[in-house]
């Protein structure tokens, strides 16, 4: 698998660390309540198909990325910097 790092270009998957669904970008406030925090940390859409997920280019430039990928075909539609991605 090869991931298009917006900074380094397309790189082998072995350079990247996977975190999980991009929902982690949308951190609730401290008082958002039990349900909101449960949804943020534990519950997942986990779609069979297109999804947005977080990768860290640990073996490369060190950027956190939001990658749009299909979990069935592994097709990758694009990647953006986590800091610039809309939640």
């Amino acid at each position: 698998m090869r991931i298009p790092c917006p900074i380094c270009g397309e790189r082998d998957r072995r350079e990247f660390y996977y975190k999980g669904a991009a929902v982690a970008l949308d951190r609730p406030g401290p008082d958002a309540g039990e349900a909101a925090w449960d949804a943020y940390v534990y519950l997942r859409e986990n779609p069979a198909g297109r999804t947005r997920e977080l990768w860290y280019h640990e073996g490369g430039c060190g950027a956190w990325l939001v990658v749009t990928r299909d979990t069935v075909s592994h097709e990758i539609f694009g990647a953006e910097l986590a800091g610039e991605a809309d939640v």
């Binding site: 698998m1 998957r13 669904a21 940390v41 997942r44 986990n46 069979a48």
Partner: protein
């Protein structure tokens, strides 16, 4: 038909003409007392124990593909009860006891082979963590032996004791652990359930779950609507999709785990051996193939196929630990889809929908759990009470923080368990 050596002899002498189907292929009825979604190991054993233990035989198992086509047919066949935390401890202990009588129970040779599972440790810290786990196993009534380096050498002299990157300091040995013939487990439970009247319906995909004012009424399938008093979701690998039909979102992320088998070789590895530093575990099948695997590919996937970095990592672990396997050739690789949960432990519980039950989140511990999972899930579905061996696998434990069962201690990141 009862299976036995005599039967094999008789059929051999009479041209093997008398063999009967191991199960029927019935058409789905319009209504069942219980519908089990998923004809994998867990679904089939659930149906079997519903009939066997609770006399509930008006049961249908709905399988979208072929029986046992999921992870029960694509794993590394390891059976063990070597968990350290309450919740897991009693459950896997219960499962191992069921394994030990399974051939006779099912009249089907699942080739349960108690050749022993050896977990290697590579530092004092790991040794103490393993000791804690081993003591928990003994507290539970299971067997565990702490071996030093020389003890390990006596058991598996072919490890690289001198040059390995992470030297072997010792191991935790679990003699009652071992392997079983994975397909046979599914087939044995299928045959047993079928003989007790359960309808096993293949090529029947569930497309919807009918819920009326908070109670489950049945399911929609590619072979028509089926009414049911109770419905059990047992579809590890697709749990999120099926649960979504009931409007649920689960604490599950699906990942692909690859496994490998080599060409047939004369006996060389007599136990199940696992490498504490490299996520590597290996055993040798009775046919002679080395069966081994490692960590998941570490990205969400439903593709049932992996990529090279994960493959290479497994092979590299094998080469640093036991360089004698270098000349063995990998014949086949395959991938299974794992329900990864936030604490690495499964879920066997009711749902907010009355009559709808959930069995999922097996991470990569599902195979050895097949007997107890079915046994305990059947108990829950039949009695609406938790089986004493499976009281800890609650769906709400993450919300409340009570009874999180995190053996790895890696926390709420699904792929790290």
């Amino acid at each position: 038909m009862r299976f036995s050596g005599l039967r094999v002899l008789w059929e051999g002498l009479t041209g093997n003409r008398g063999w009967e189907p191991h199960w029927r292929d019935p058409a789905p009825k319009s209504e069942y007392d219980v519908v089990i979604i998923g004809g994998g190991g867990h679904g089939l054993s659930t149906a079997y124990y519903l009939a066997r233990e609770h006399g509930i035989t008006n049961v249908a198992v709905l399988e979208k593909g072929y029986l046992g086509g999921g992870n029960v047919g694509r794993n590394t066949t390891i059976v063990r009860a070597n968990y350290g935390l309450p919740g897991n401890s009693e459950f896997y202990s219960h499962s191992l006891k069921l394994w030990e009588g399974l051939e006779q129970e099912l009249n089907y040779n699942v080739m349960m082979s108690q050749r022993g599972v050896l977990n290697l440790f590579h530092s004092d810290g790991q040794r103490d963590a393993f000791a804690r786990r081993g003591n928990a196993m003994v507290n539970q009534g299971d067997d565990a032996i702490l071996l030093d380096r020389e003890g390990v050498r006596r058991l598996v002299p072919y490890l690289d004791f001198d040059n390995a990157r992470f030297p072997v300091h010792g191991g935790l040995f679990h003699p009652r652990g071992g392997t079983a013939r994975h397909d046979a487990v599914a087939w044995g439970y299928a045959r047993g359930a079928d003989r007790r009247g359960v309808d096993l319906i293949q090529n029947c995909e569930v497309t919807g779950i009918d819920i009326e004012n908070g109670r489950v009424r049945g399911v929609q399938t590619t072979r028509g609507a089926i009414r049911a008093g109770k419905v059990g979701i047992v579809v590890a690998g697709r749990s999120s999709q099926v649960a979504a039909m009931a409007g649920m979102r689960l604490p599950i992320e699906s990942h692909v785990l690859q496994a490998f088998v080599t060409e047939g070789l004369k006996p060389v590895i007599d136990h199940v051996v696992t490498f504490g530093m490299g996520h590597f575990y290996i055993s040798q099948s009775d046919k002679g193939g080395l069966v081994f695997g490692g960590d998941i590919d570490m990205y969400a996937s439903y593709a049932a196929r992996g990529n090279l970095p994960a493959v290479e990592h497994v092979m590299e672990a094998g080469m640093t630990l036991m360089p004698m396997i270098g000349k063995a050739r990998v014949l086949r690789s395959w991938g299974g889809i794992m329900d990864m949960s936030p604490d690495g432990s499964p879920i066997i519980d009711r749902t907010d929908v009355e009559g709808l039950y959930l069995n999922c989140g097996w991470n990569y511990g599902g195979f050895k759990a097949v007997p107890a999972s079915g046994h305990c899930f059947a108990h829950l579905m039949a009695t609406d009470r938790y089986h004493e061996a499976a009281t800890g696998f609650r769906l709400d434990r993450f919300r409340t923080g009570y009874g999180i069962i995190d053996e790895e201690g890696t926390g709420a990141q699904h792929n790290l368990h």
